[in-house]
C-alpha cells in the first residue's frame, strides 16, 4: 500500500533569523512556472523587504520626520539589490540599481541636497525597481519589450547626480512622470479586483511570495524543537507505562502541559505585528490623496499589536478599501474643510489594539461622515429599502445600509472607489476571517470603521450543541446567548406567523430557525430544548437545538470545498472523544433562512451602535470604568438585593446539595473539582437552612485572581449594563441594567478594566 510522504521544503538561513517556506509558497505563484529558482526567490523576498523599508524612509523624508539615517537606509536597500543582482544575471535591474546607487552615495555623503524633487525621483526609482522585480517574479525574466525601458529614469538619475538639478519641480506631482501615475491607478483597480476575487472565494487568486513566507526567530524554533522533544519523550513514557500505574495521571498532566505550551508557542510564532500591514499605507494615502486633490495626514498607533499571519493577510484588502474610502468619500476637499471650520488637512487614523481577546483595527477620518439623507436616498434608488422604511430609520441604522451589496453613495464612479464593491466586500472579507465590522459616523465630524478579528483562526471558543443525535459547534463570536425553553413555556415564547416561527426574547420578536428542519434531520424530541440566539450580518436570529454540551475551545479544521459551498458549515472539529462536530456557518444559515434582506428592520448591531454613536476613540478605555458598558450577571444577593458582577469573573453557576457544604472553623467550604473552595455567604443564607431540600445556588467566580464561591439567593439574568462611578453622596459603584440600578457585589467592582480590584481603591475613590 503506497503511503506517500509529502516533501515540505524548509530552508534555513543562518543569519540570526530563519525563514520558513510555507507549503503554499511552493504551490503558489512561483514554482508552477518553473522558471524561478530558489536563489532568485530568496532574492525577490529580500529585495521586497528592502524596498518596503525604502518606502517607509522616503515617506519619513517627505514628511520631514527623518530620524537622520533614512538616506543611509535607502542606500542600503538599493545597494543590496545591486550587489545581489550582479551574479543572478539581470542586467536591466543592475543598470537601474547602479544609477540609483550612484546618486544615493552622493546624497548620503551630503554632496547633493535631499530636496523634494529628488525624493520624487527616488520614489520613481523604487517603482521602477518594483516593476522589474514583479516581472521577474511573474515571468522569470526582467522583460525585454520596448515598454520595459528605464533609459529615461536612468538619465534623470544620472543628471541629478551630475549637476544636482532635477527635471521634476519641487513638491512635484506625478503628472510629470506619467508612468507612475498610471501605475498607481492600476494598483488601485487591481486591489479592488483582488478583494472581489477573494470575497468570492475564488481559488487561484494570485499568491505573492511575501504573503506565504514568514520570518521566524531561531530562538522560537529552538523552543518549539525542545517542546517537540518533550512531547516525544512523554509519548515514549506513555507507551511503556501501564494504565493502572500511579504515574499515568501525572503523565497525562504533563502531556497536557506540553501540548498547551506547544500550541501557544506555535501561535506566537505565527503572530506578526499589525504595523507590517500599516507600512504600505503612507504611500497609498499620499497617492490617493493626490489623485483626489485632498490634503491628508496619516496617523498610526498600536502597530506592535500581534496578529496571526493569515489574519493579517485577510485584513489587507478590507483595510485598503477602508482607507481609500476614507480619503475618497470621507475627507472633504481643502476648500470645503475650511468652509466648515476644519483644518485644511484631513486626518486618517489607523489604530490597532487588543480588546476582549480580539484584535481591533480601526480606520477613522475626520471627514464629512455618512449623511443619513444621502444614504437613504441611494438605498431607495437601489431598491434596498422602501420609502416608508426609510422614514423610520435613524442615522445609525441608515449607516449600516452601506454594508449592503451593491450600495455606493458616490454619484460618479471614480478611479479609486465607487464601483459598488466597497463596504459589502469589506464586511464579507472580515467576516470570512471570523471577525466583524462596525461603522460609526457622525455627520460632519467623521467616520470610524472598526474591524474586529480573533487573535487566531485555528482555535476558537465555541459551544457544542446537539441536534438529532449529531454534534454541531457554534463559534462564540456569533453566539449571543442560550435560552432553555421548558415545555410549559413553549406556547408563550414561540409564536408563529404562517410557517415562520418567532421567539419572544425580552419583549422583542426574533426570527427562529429549527436546525433539524434546516438540515432535514430527525430531531429527538425531549424534555424542553435550547434556543441559541445568534447574530449574523448585524441581525439576530434564534436557532433551535436539542441540547447543549460544555463550551470548549475547538481546533478548526477546514472542510472540503464540496461541503463548504453548501453555506451551512464553516469547518469541522474533532471533539475530545474523537467524534467530529461540524461547525455551523451562522452567516450561511441566516442567508439560507433569508434573514439577510434589508427589509429586516431593528437589528442588534444598529441598536448597539445607536447606544453609543458619539463614542470617541480612546474614551471609555483610558477613561476608566465610568460610563463603560459590560456584560453583567445579575442575581439576588442573600439579603434580597439586586446585585451584579462582571460576566468575565463568572466561571460557573452550580447548584450544590446542602450536604456538600461543610463548615471548617466557622467558614463554609465545599469540594470543587478536587479543590477546596471557600464560600462567601454575606447574608448568612446557609444558616437559615431555607435551601436544605432544593440545593444551594453558588456562583463560582474569579475574585482578585483566586477562585471563590459566592452563595446567592437566585440568578436573574445576563445583560449588558452601564457602570456608574461612585459619587459624593453614594460611595459604591453601581450598574444600570435595563433601566434599573443594581449594586456590584463587593470585590467585583470594575475599576480599571481588571476583573476585581482591591477594595482600598474604593476608599480612595470615595
Amino acid at each position: 500500500m503506497g503511503a506517500r510522504l509529502q516533501a515540505r521544503g524548509v530552508r534555513v538561513q543562518v543569519r540570526g533569523s530563519v525563514r520558513l517556506w510555507d507549503e503554499r509558497g511552493g504551490r503558489g505563484g512561483i514554482s508552477d512556472r518553473g522558471s524561478v529558482d530558489d536563489l532568485t526567490k530568496e532574492f525577490l523576498i529580500e529585495s521586497g523587504e528592502g524596498l518596503d523599508r525604502m518606502e517607509r524612509c522616503l515617506a519619513d523624508l517627505q514628511s520631514g520626520t527623518d530620524g537622520g539615517d533614512c538616506v543611509a537606509e535607502v542606500f542600503r536597500a538599493v545597494h543590496t539589490i545591486k550587489g545581489t543582482v550582479g551574479f543572478l544575471g539581470f542586467p536591466r535591474l543592475e543598470q537601474l540599481a547602479h544609477a540609483g546607487e550612484h546618486l544615493l552615495v552622493l546624497l548620503r555623503d551630503g554632496k547633493r541636497s535631499t530636496g523634494d524633487g529628488v525624493i520624487e525621483l527616488l520614489v520613481q526609482l523604487m517603482d521602477g525597481l518594483r516593476r522589474v522585480l514583479q516581472l521577474i517574479e511573474m515571468t522569470g525574466a526582467e522583460g525585454s519589450r520596448a515598454a520595459d525601458n528605464d533609459a529615461e529614469l536612468i538619465a534623470k538619475l544620472e543628471q541629478y547626480a551630475k549637476d544636482g538639478v532635477t527635471a521634476i519641480p519641487a513638491g512635484g506631482k506625478f503628472a510629470t512622470a506619467g508612468a507612475p501615475a498610471i501605475d498607481i491607478r492600476a494598483v488601485g483597480v487591481k486591489l479592488a479586483g483582488e478583494a472581489v476575487a477573494s470575497a468570492a472565494n475564488t481559488p487561484g487568486a494570485s499568491i505573492n511570495t511575501a504573503e506565504t513566507t514568514l520570518r521566524v526567530d531561531v530562538e522560537t524554533l529552538n523552543r518549539l524543537m525542545n517542546l517537540v522533544g518533550e512531547l516525544v519523550q512523554t509519548r515514549n513514557q506513555f507507551l511503556q507505562a501501564e494504565v493502572s500505574e500511579e504515574s499515568f495521571t501525572r503523565l497525562g498532566q504533563r502531556l497536557d502541559g506540553v501540548t498547551a505550551e506547544l500550541r501557544e508557542s506555535v501561535m506566537r510564532a505565527r503572530m506578526q505585528p499589525v504595523g507590517q500591514l500599516f507600512q504600505k499605507f503612507p504611500r497609498l494615502v499620499r497617492d490617493v490623496a493626490q489623485i483626489c486633490g485632498k490634503n491628508v495626514r496619516l496617523e498610526f498607533s498600536g502597530g506592535d499589536t500581534g496578529l496571526d499571519k493569515s489574519l493579517l493577510e485577510a485584513l489587507k484588502d478590507p483595510l485598503t478599501h477602508a482607507v481609500r474610502n476614507a480619503i475618497d468619500h470621507g475627507i472633504e476637499t481643502p476648500q470645503q474643510r475650511l468652509l466648515r471650520g476644519k483644518p485644511a488637512e484631513g486626518k486618517v487614523q489607523l489604530r490597532a489594539y487588543h480588546e476582549g481577546g480580539q484584535v481591533v483595527v480601526e480606520v477613522s477620518d475626520d471627514g464629512a461622515g455618512v449623511s443619513r439623507e444621502r444614504v437613504l436616498r441611494r438605498a431607495i434608488e437601489r431598491g434596498l429599502i422602501t420609502a416608508e422604511q426609510a422614514g423610520t430609520m435613524g442615522a445609525a441604522e441608515a449607516t449600516q445600509l452601506v454594508f449592503e451589496p451593491g450600495f455606493s453613495t458616490t454619484d460618479e464612479v471614480t478611479m479609486i472607489s465607487g464601483r459598488g464593491v466597497g463596504m459589502d466586500v469589506v464586511r464579507a472579507n472580515v467576516e470570512g476571517a471570523g471577525g466583524s465590522v462596525e461603522l460609526q459616523s457622525v455627520e460632519g465630524e467623521g467616520t470610524t470603521l472598526r474591524m474586529r478579528v480573533p487573535l487566531t483562526l485555528a482555535i476558537v471558543p465555541a459551544l457544542v450543541a446537539r441536534c438529532g443525535g449529531q454534534m454541531f459547534a457554534v463559534a462564540h463570536s456569533a453566539l449571543l446567548e442560550m435560552v432553555w425553553i421548558r415545555p410549559v413555556e413553549e406556547a408563550a415564547l414561540i409564536q408563529r406567523i404562517g410557517n415562520a416561527k418567532m421567539f419572544l426574547l425580552r419583549n422583542r420578536l426574533v426570527p427562529l430557525l429549527d436546525l433539524s428542519e434546516v438540515l432535514g434531520i430527525e430531531s429527538a424530541p425531549s424534555d424542553g430544548f435550547y434556543i441559541a440566539v445568534l447574530e449574523a450580518k448585524g441581525r439576530q436570529f434564534g436557532l433551535i437545538v436539542d441540547d447543549m454540551a460544555e463550551p470548549q475551545e475547538i481546533v478548526v479544521k477546514p472542510l472540503s470545498s464540496v461541503l463548504s459551498c453548501l453555506n451551512v458549515y464553516s469547518g469541522a472539529t474533532l471533539l475530545g472523544d474523537g467524534q467530529i462536530a461540524l461547525i455551523l456557518d451562522t452567516n450561511g444559515l441566516a442567508r439560507t433562512a433569508k434573514l439577510c434582506d434589508a427589509s429586516q428592520q431593528v437589528t442588534a448591531a444598529t441598536e448597539r451602535v445607536a447606544s453609543h454613536v458619539v463614542e470617541m476613540p480612546g474614551v471609555g478605555r483610558a477613561g476608566g470604568a465610568s460610563g463603560r458598558r459590560l456584560p453583567l450577571l445579575m442575581f439576588l444577593a442573600p439579603c434580597g438585593a439586586h446585585t451584579v458582577m462582571p460576566l468575565d469573573c463568572v466561571e460557573r453557576i452550580e447548584k450544590v446539595a446542602r450536604e456538600e457544604i461543610e463548615l471548617l472553623s466557622g467558614r463554609a467550604v465545599m469540594q470543587y473539582r478536587g479543590e477546596l473552595l471557600a464560600l462567601d455567604d454575606p447574608g448568612g443564607l446557609l444558616q437559615q437552612g431555607e435551601t436544605a431540600g432544593v440545593g444551594q445556588l453558588v456562583v463560582i467566580c474569579n475574585k482578585q485572581g483566586l477562585r471563590a464561591g459566592l452563595v446567592v439567593r437566585g440568578i436573574l439574568d445576563v445583560a449588558e449594563g452601564e457602570v456608574l462611578p461612585p459619587t459624593a453622596s453614594y460611595p459604591g459603584t453601581v450598574a444600570r441594567v435595563e433601566g434599573r440600578l443594581a449594586m456590584f457585589s463587593p470585590g467585583f467592582e470594575p475599576q480599571t478594566g481588571i476583573c476585581a480590584m482591591p477594595r482600598v481603591v474604593d476608599k480612595e475613590a470615595a
Binding site: M1, G2, Q470, K557, S561, L574, Q579
Partner: protein, 165 residues
C-alpha cells in the same frame, strides 16, 4: 488470484483490489495514499448524494465519497472501510468508502479489455476497462472520475440518484 502469466509481470501494473457489492475493482496502487480498515464516519446533512460523510484522518477532516452511491447501490451501514486518495484538482485528500479491501495484485497489459458496450453510462464513466480472469473480472477504476471536484462539476451526484438499472 492471478490475472497475469508469470513472464509478463514486468510489463504489468500494480492494482489495489477492493470489493463493493458483488463486484471486484482495482485502482492503481500509486494513487492510494493509505488504507483505512475501519473508520468512524460522520454524516453531513444536506451534503450531495455522493458524499457519505466526513471522517477524521491524521488530524484532518476528510470528505468521504461513497462508492456505493456512485454505483447506485444502497448504502452499507455495517462496515466502514476506506482508501485515501488525492483530488488532483484541488490538492485535497479524500476518502473513498468501499465494502472490503483486498490484496495488491499485478495485472498484465495483455489481460486488459475495454469496458463492455452493454455497461450502463454511469459505470462506464467510472471504469477504464476490465482485466479478464478465470474467476470474477477485475474492473479498473479511473481515479480522476472519483474525485469530489469532478463529481461536483459533472453532476454525477444527480445521476447517482437514479438507483440501479
Amino acid at each position: 488470484m492471478t490475472y497475469v502469466e508469470e513472464k509478463e509481470v514486468e510489463a504489468g501494473l500494480s492494482l489495489c483490489t477492493l470489493r463493493t457489492g458483488e463486484d471486484l475493482f482495482g485502482i492503481e496502487t500509486s494513487a492510494v495514499r493509505e488504507a483505512l480498515y475501519q473508520c468512524e464516519l460522520r454524516q453531513v446533512p444536506l451534503a450531495p448524494q455522493f458524499v457519505a460523510g466526513v471522517l477524521a484522518y491524521r488530524g484532518e477532516v476528510l470528505l468521504a465519497v461513497s462508492f456505493r452511491a456512485l454505483l447506485g447501490l444502497p448504502a452499507n451501514t455495517e462496515t466502514c472501510c476506506a482508501i485515501v486518495l488525492e483530488d488532483k484538482e484541488s490538492g485535497e485528500p479524500f476518502a473513498l468508502l468501499i465494502d472490503e479491501l483486498l490484496d495488491v495484485v499485478q495485472v498484465a497489459a495483455s489481460a486488459w479489455e475495454p469496458n463492455p458496450v452493454t455497461l450502463d453510462e454511469r459505470r462506464s464513466g467510472l471504469f477504464s476497462g476490465v482485466y479478464r480472469s478465470a474467476g470474477a473480472p477485475l474492473v479498473r477504476l479511473q481515479p480522476e472520475r472519483l474525485q469530489p471536484s469532478w463529481l461536483t462539476r459533472n453532476g454525477v451526484a444527480a445521476m447517482a440518484l437514479g438507483g440501479t438499472r
